[in-house]
Amino acid sequence: MRFFILLLIMLLPVETFALDATDIMKKSQEAFLYQGKDFKARVMMKLISKGGQERVREMTMLRKNYGASGGEQKYFMYFFQPADVKDMTFMVYKFPAKDDDRWLFIPAINMVRRIAAQDKSSSFVGSDFTYEDISGRDIEDDTHSIAKEEKIGARDCYVIKSAPKAQDADYSYKLSWIDKVNFLPLKEEYYDKKGELNRVFTADEVKDVKGFPTVTKRAMKNLLSGHRTEVTFTKTDYNIGVEDSLFSERFLKQPPKKWVE
């Protein structure tokens, strides 16, 4: 028995180190963007300029997974604020290895329109978050390595360095502080092509929702422009049985109240 415990103790760190950087990033993406079969949140985004001027984006976001973690997902977003985008809906079919399909519904002319979506590093609704920050970047697009281990507050983290394999990203590398216990990214630093720290992501509040640790407050700050975006998730829920039919033109035009409230 004592021998067994000793063996276990010897194996434990080996087991831990057996997780390579790519595995950690996969687990992190799973924890951050793929938990549950589906997910719902009321999202409040505050876009804050260097001078302190605030703009607000408020929406309900619904997400459903299709296949394994890192695989296909569908997103449905309904906007409450600001007034000029109220009642707009936005839908994304996210594919891991090819460009997303995106649709936008413009209520004033009752029109559903496909949107060209090639540049995933474009800003999401004018915020400091890119489309990739919202729905995740393909793990295979970067080379990952463990840079160090460090604490964020009381949480032990892996610090992973990810460098794009191609010249398709707007950063030369990214450092991610990944919580060793729940694998959520607690902090990310994006370094631009000159190697200067450009954007910083922080997970400012993590709550347990139906057993899933969930980042309910997050921020992205652009250090060069001084502009930042603060995001709060409320009414968060998992495994609520979002039907496939939601992700359709019919419901883009007439979003069902039970899902978007």
Partner: protein
Amino acid sequence: MRSRQRLAVCSQLRRSTFIVCALCSVFYALSVSYAAASETSIHGFLQGNYSADLDMSNPDGGDFKWAEERMQLKLDTNKEPFRLFFKTDAYYDHVDEKTDLEMREGYVDFTSSKWDLRIGRQVITWGVGDLVFINDVFPKDYEAFFSGRPMEYLKKGVDGIKIGVYPSSVSAEVIVIPFFEPNVYPQGNRFYMFDPMPLVTNREEREPSGSLDNTETAFRIYRDIAGFDTSVYFYKGFYRQTSMLPDSMSSPTKIDLFYPELSVYGASTQGRALDGVLSIEAGYYDSRQDENGTDPMIPNSQSKNLFGYQRQIWEDFTAGLQYYCEYMHDYSDYERNVPSGFPQENKLHQLTSVRLTQLLMHQTLKLSLFSFYSPSDGDYLLNPEIKYNFSDNIWAAIGGNIFGGGDEWSQFGQFEKNDNLYAQMRYEF
């Protein structure tokens, strides 16, 4: 004289104020009665919209194509499975010096799991074109577009019934429109336009009567095919532009303006291809009142085709290209019968468009350019615009409509003297 005008305006204002108050009371009563079990919201905007001539004054001497202050109220109340929606505008038009109310939309929805129903005034948008309409056979306001009004005013609502059916394999929409609604074209007091018979001022317009026979029907069936949103369409109704019927070809004294019968059979598809979005649309316009193409006063049957491609070139910059063509069937019959002195249309009318959009400053500043150019007619329209969001509630846009090229009767060439610079400002609540 001036004070009389002012009195008239005041009385109009009083009447409109009364109507707005009455409408608000109805809104209020509705919202109170629904408040217990439903959700009600009231939103809207205040807007100023001015468009000044760049080249020369209007035919009636005025210098503004459009000048108005407008308030829109949107009332939305939900009590599942029902929804009630009203969108009403009250405005003062400085060019025609009138105050008026306009019901933009007003309908009741009923939603079931596999089908839904919408009854009332509603905006319907079909097809995949960007300002090019083949299977979108529903009424448009081209005067709004050419006068520099916000894009939503290009579309007009129709009073009708829409039934949507959504079984798992395909979706379908049926639209029934009992009362004909024509397109709005620029008016002679504000716009210089081509008129083949300018001396005949005795004109009478006849809209199709609201009979069962004249009820328009439109049908669309659609589904995803290999990642492409694909639709098939059918429409039976009328052209929304008038045709002229003079009492005599040689020495006309009176012109009847009427809306010929039309059926449209069409299809469209749109999906991701070539690192962008590809759009294809086609339609056969069956001119039912001129099957042989021998009546020069009624449009001949045509095939209309559209190819579109849009792509994001760099961050927040998108480019869209379109090629559109109209092929006239029975062209030799048309050529034989076109009266002398009338401009002759091409067998193949072609139109290209470019749309460039750049968003800047966290998407608060939008620079855009839309242009039409017709390779067959040689005329063009340029519409550059700058829009800035001062805050979440206030935005303003300035832009221009520049026309030219072609002939004095061609689509954009005829508007050559109507170049205008417009400003739009909106406070949204």
